[in-house]
């Protein structure tokens, strides 16, 4: 079912993309770059939602914390964020593991509202901790490679942000291999479908949850390190990404990780499409709400018919 949905979404996208490509290539280029960024932040959140069935409202804040960690390391040592990426991911993995062990685990059987309040509280905690430690002033690291650009004919555009597209694709492929080829991954997949059934066949459900949480935190930590190469950071920088990630996952359908790529492309390209006109530039932020509302409305109408 998810496959069929992905295919139709893919076809519609392909047609739209071709049209725009001919007419205004930068819309597509920047749209894809934005999509890469959205998707690579949303995918780890989708992993947690698909397997642990927890909406982590502190997801964007995890990334923000990782960005500050990267900032601190790189400021102190002069290291490039790409070198700090692995240590930062290791730290956030450990952090995610601890958060799971100390908090999430106790709320697994609690009503959903309690789980939301818990992760929302974590988000506030992280934001305020960043405020205390770094103040609300924006921080930035500058690198020359970020402004790399390419000229084709009279078209000139920045290429650095394609790194996010590469990361998003690598995440989808990597997760697929992990979930279908490795013993721990298969266990996580089984736990995501039926935790009780998984325990009955000898899978340590608690371990699978902890592992999933740590893995997703490592992925978003890695994103935090890459994020700071091109954006300034401040304590609230993560929260819009929590929102967008959640909506992209809802659009794709829970558990449909490749679908997050498709919904991100849809969002990224439409946003940049509006930004291409002076008259609609201000509207770009609304696209997101229009998309999410129409997708969910469409799905519930289709659901009622079925």
């Amino acid at each position: 079912m998810a496959n069929k949905r992905n295919r139709t979404a893919g076809l519609v996208l392909a047609a739209a993309v071709l049209g725009i490509l001919v007419w205004r290539p930068t819309v597509l280029i920047y749209g894809l770059q934005a999509a890469g960024l959205y998707a690579s932040i949303a995918i780890p959140m989708g992993l947690i939602l698909g397997i642990v069935h927890i909406v982590n409202l502190a997801h964007g804040e995890f990334m923000m914390a990782a960005s500050y960690l990267t900032y601190t390391i790189c400021r102190a040592s002069g290291m490039d964020p790409y070198l700090a990426l692995l240590p930062v991911a290791a730290v956030t993995a450990a952090f995610g593991f601890l958060v799971y062990r100390l908090t999430i685990r106790r709320a697994l059987k609690a009503p959903e509202l309690n789980q939301l309040i818990l992760t929302f509280g974590l988000a506030i905690l992280l934001t305020q901790a960043a405020n205390l430690l770094f103040t609300s002033q924006t921080r930035k690291l500058s690198f020359e490679y970020v402004s790399a650009s390419v000229d084709i004919g009279d078209l000139s555009f920045g290429v650095y942000n394609f790194v996010f597209v590469a990361i998003a694709v690598a995440m989808v492929v990597g997760l697929r291999l992990f979930l279908t080829r490795t013993k721990a991954g298969k266990a996580a997949l089984a736990v995501g479908q039926n935790p009780r059934g998984a325990a009955i066949v000898g899978i340590d459900v608690d371990r699978a949850y902890a592992l999933t949480f740590a893995l997703a935190s490592a992925m978003v930590g890695l994103m935090g390190a890459v994020f700071i190469t091109r954006s300034s950071i401040f304590p609230a920088v993560g929260s819009p990404f929590t929102m967008k990630s959640f909506c992209l996952i809802a659009m794709a359908g829970i558990g449909n990780i490749p679908g997050i790529l498709a919904s991100s492309v849809l969002l990224g390209v439409s946003e940049n499409f509006l930004k291409a006109f002076r008259g609609t530039r201000e509207w770009a932020d609304i696209v997101f709400f229009v998309l999410i509302i129409s997708v969910i409305l469409g799905r519930s109408i289709r659901g009622k018919k079925a």
Partner: protein, 234 residues
């Protein structure tokens, strides 16, 4: 004794369900019969660690497993066919069966032989090997659940209402196969179908209101006036 339960009490929240239940299983098959709500599933849940016992002890294969986690108990050699089946609905029959063996030490290296045995028991699963389990009928899913449990090469197989939703001809076939299996595997089975189950097991326990009220050889139980009146409809 493979399984030895002594003085087990347990329940949900503050509601007690089982009161001082003792039960043991050797190299044999045992039926657990009783009316709806007697606590049969609760007893099974306590054995498999799905609910925490309040008191008493459960020993499996000479080891105390009281209150152990479900996955540890599964790895020790108890396979369960739950009343609610608890399959992986989005996966194929093949994947569900593979998961039955993948995390159980006793099944390692024997997956092929175990799979062959399961497909011989339920030939329909061979035809439906690549079908997504969530799209199968209730009875077919019941077969997948039984096969998945057998993939664990268990020392003790627990079946909670295995015939629920199965057509009568398959029910007697399942019981015939179970009596074949019991040469290698100890079996604990709960059944609404008391007649069929007492025909194919060695011993039985009657559980009413959370307590064992009768126990004995299956042939004796089948003749017991209380069992006849309450469960055999004579």
């Amino acid at each position: 004794m493979i399984l030895e339960i002594q003085g087990l009490t347990c329940g949900y929240g503050k509601l007690p369900v089982l009161r001082d239940v003792s039960l043991s299983i050797g190299a044999e098959s045992v039926a657990l019969i009783g009316p709806n709500g007697a606590g049969k599933t609760t007893l099974i849940n306590a054995v498999t660690g799905l609910v925490k016992p309040w008191g008493g002890s459960i020993r499996f294969d000479g080891r105390d497993v009281t209150g152990h986690a479900t996955h540890e108990i599964a790895r020790a050699g108890i396979a369960l066919v739950p009343q609610e089946r608890e399959l992986f609905p989005g996966m194929t029959v093949a994947d569900n069966l593979a998961l039955g063996a993948a995390y159980i030490p006793r099944a390692q290296g024997r997956e092929e032989r175990l799979l062959e045995q399961c497909l011989r028991l339920f030939p329909i699963l061979k035809e439906r090997f690549r079908q997504i389990v969530g799209t199968m009928s209730g009875g077919q899913q019941r077969m997948v659940a039984i096969a998945r449990a057998l993939m664990a090469n268990p020392k003790l197989l627990i079946l909670d209402e295995p015939s629920l939703g199965l057509q009568p001809s398959i029910v007697s076939e399942v019981f015939d196969r179970l009596s074949e299996l019991k040469k290698d595997v100890a079996i604990l089975v709960t059944e609404q179908n008391v007649k069929e189950s007492l025909r194919s097991v060695d011993r039985g326990y009657v559980l009413e209101n959370g307590a064992v009220v009768l126990e004995g050889a299956a042939s004796d139980l089948a003749k017991d006036p209380h069992v006849e009146a309450s469960y055999l409809g004579l």
